[in-house]
C-alpha cells in the first residue's frame, strides 16, 4: 500500500510532449526555445549549438541507491544562424549502463588523524585549531630571508 512506498520525485527540467511539439526545426530561434522550454540544463561543451534538457524521476529504495526511472534527455541542435536544426528526445532505451571507474585523482592536503578529529574541537573551535596537518612540502624560505635580514643586524 502507499504507506510503504516512497513518493516519486521529478528531477531536472521535464519537457512534456506538447511543449516538445511547439518546437519545429527551422522556425524557432534560441530565444523562442528559451521562452518555451526555459534555459537548458546543460549546453554542449564546445560552442552553444546543442542544448540539453535532462530530467528523470527517482524513488527512494530501502537499502539501495535511488532508483532512477523514466530518464529523458531532449537535445535541441541549432545551426550557425541560431535557428533550430534538429530536436530529439532520448530516453532510457538509448542509454548505456556505464560502470563508473573506481579510481579517483588524489587531492593533496592534510588528512586529520583520528585523535585530532575526536579532540580537535575540544576548547577553541575554529578552522585554525584543526588544520595543523603537514603540508606536502613544508618549504619556508622565509626562515632564510629573516635570518639574513635580522642576523645581519643582531651580530
Amino acid at each position: 500500500c502507499s504507506l510503504f512506498q516512497a513518493p516519486v520525485v521529478q528531477r531536472g527540467n521535464r519537457i512534456t510532449p506538447d511543449q516538445l511539439a511547439e518546437i519545429t526545426p527551422g522556425v524557432q530561434t534560441k530565444a523562442d526555445v528559451r521562452a518555451v522550454l526555459g534555459s537548458p540544463t546543460q549546453t554542449g561543451m564546445f560552442g552553444d549549438d546543442e542544448w540539453y534538457y535532462i530530467s528523470s524521476t527517482t524513488r527512494q529504495q530501502p537499502a539501495g541507491q535511488l532508483r532512477v526511472s523514466d530518464q529523458q534527455t531532449v537535445v535541441v541542435e541549432f545551426d550557425r544562424g541560431g535557428a533550430v536544426r534538429r530536436v530529439r528526445a532520448l530516453d532510457g532505451a538509448d542509454a548505456r549502463d556505464v560502470q563508473m571507474v573506481e579510481r579517483e585523482t588524489p587531492v593533496p592536503g592534510n588528512e586529520r588523524t583520528l585523535l585530532q578529529a575526536l579532540f580537535g574541537n575540544v576548547g577553541r573551535f575554529g578552522p585554525g585549531a584543526a588544520g595543523t596537518g603537514t603540508q606536502p612540502q613544508q618549504t619556508t624560505p622565509g626562515v632564510g630571508g629573516i635570518g639574513q635580514g635580522a642576523s645581519g643586524l643582531a651580530r
Binding site: M100, T140, A150
Partner: protein
C-alpha cells in the same frame, strides 16, 4: 639547555623566567635572546621576548623587526589567526619596510596552512589564494612569489578536488544533470589542475549513460587530444571502442562484486 645557569636553582627551573631575568633589558639584548629562542625552537619564549622589545622600546628600530619576528614565532606555533593579526598591523605601520615582502608572504602562508581537505569548507582556500596572489602581484620577481605561485596551483587543486567530489557524489546517485554541471566547472575554471583528465572522462561516461553519444565522442576526443598518455583517456577509449581494455582491470574485486550483488 642553552640558557646560562647562574648558580640559582630557579633559573634552571623554567628557562622562560630564567631567560628574561638574566638577559639585559636593552633592545639589542632582548632581540638577540628572542632570535636565540627561535633557533632553539622555543617559540613561546621567543614571542614573549619580541613583544617585550616592542612594548618597552617602541621607538627603537628593533621594534619593527621584533613585530615581524613575533609574527613568525606565532606562525611556527600554528597560531595562525594571531600571526595574521600581527602581520596586518606590521604591514599597515611599515608599508615601506625592507622585509615587507616577507610579511606579505608569511601572511599568505598562515592562510595557506589553514586549508582543510577537499571534503570540507573551502573558504580558507579562497582566502589563501587571495593572499598568495597579493604576494605575486606586489613582489613578482622574489623567491616568495615563486613559492606563492606553486602554492596557488596547490590551492586551486583543492578547489577542483572539491568540485570533483561533489560531481562523483551526484554521478554515483545517477543524477546526471547535476554531475555534468560540476565536471564542466572543473574543465572550464580549473584548466591548470590535474583533475581535468578525470573530469573529461566522467563527462564521457555520463553522456554515454544519457545516450548522447556524439557529445561523448567529442569529449573523449578532446581528452585524447590534450592528455594522450593519461589512463583516463584509455578508459574513455575503452567505453567508446568495443573490446579496448580500460586502464585498470575491469573485473571489480570479488568482495566489491559480492557486495554489490547483495545490496
Amino acid at each position: 639547555c642553552s640558557s646560562n645557569w647562574d648558580g640559582t636553582a630557579d633559573s634552571l627551573g623554567s628557562s622562560r623566567r630564567g631567560a628574561s631575568a638574566t638577559v639585559d633589558a636593552s633592545p639589542e639584548g632582548l632581540y638577540a635572546a628572542g632570535v636565540e629562542n627561535l633557533q632553539a625552537r622555543r617559540f613561546q619564549q621567543a614571542v614573549d621576548l619580541f613583544d617585550r622589545v616592542e612594548r618597552d622600546h617602541p621607538y627603537s628600530t628593533w621594534a619593527t623587526n621584533a613585530k615581524l619576528m613575533a609574527a613568525y614565532g606565532d606562525y611556527m606555533r600554528n597560531r595562525y589567526t594571531e600571526a595574521i593579526g600581527a602581520l596586518d598591523r606590521f604591514i599597515q605601520l611599515h608599508p615601506a619596510h625592507r622585509d615587507v615582502a616577507y610579511a606579505y608572504y608569511l601572511r599568505a602562508l598562515s592562510y595557506y596552512e589553514q586549508i582543510a581537505d577537499a571534503q570540507r569548507d573551502q573558504r580558507g582556500t579562497e582566502q589563501a589564494m587571495v593572499a598568495l596572489q597579493d604576494v605575486v602581484n606586489r613582489f613578482p620577481d622574489t623567491a616568495y612569489a615563486r613559492d606563492a605561485r606553486l602554492k596557488i596551483d596547490l590551492a586551486r587543486d583543492h578547489l577542483a578536488g572539491k568540485e570533483m567530489n561533489i560531481g562523483r557524489f551526484y554521478q554515483r546517485q545517477r543524477l546526471y544533470g547535476a554531475a555534468i554541471g560540476r565536471f564542466r566547472r572543473v574543465v572550464e575554471d580549473y584548466q591548470t589542475t590535474n583533475h581535468v583528465p578525470e573530469a573529461l572522462h566522467r563527462l564521457t561516461e555520463i553522456y554515454l549513460a544519457l545516450g548522447v553519444t556524439e557529445e561523448a565522442r567529442k569529449t573523449a576526443s578532446v581528452l585524447g587530444h590534450n592528455f594522450p598518455g593519461s589512463p583516463w583517456y584509455q578508459d574513455s577509449y575503452a567505453l567508446l571502442v568495443e573490446g579496448a581494455p580500460g586502464a585498470e582491470p575491469q573485473r571489480a574485486g570479488l568482495l566489491r562484486r559480492a557486495w554489490n550483488a547483495v545490496f
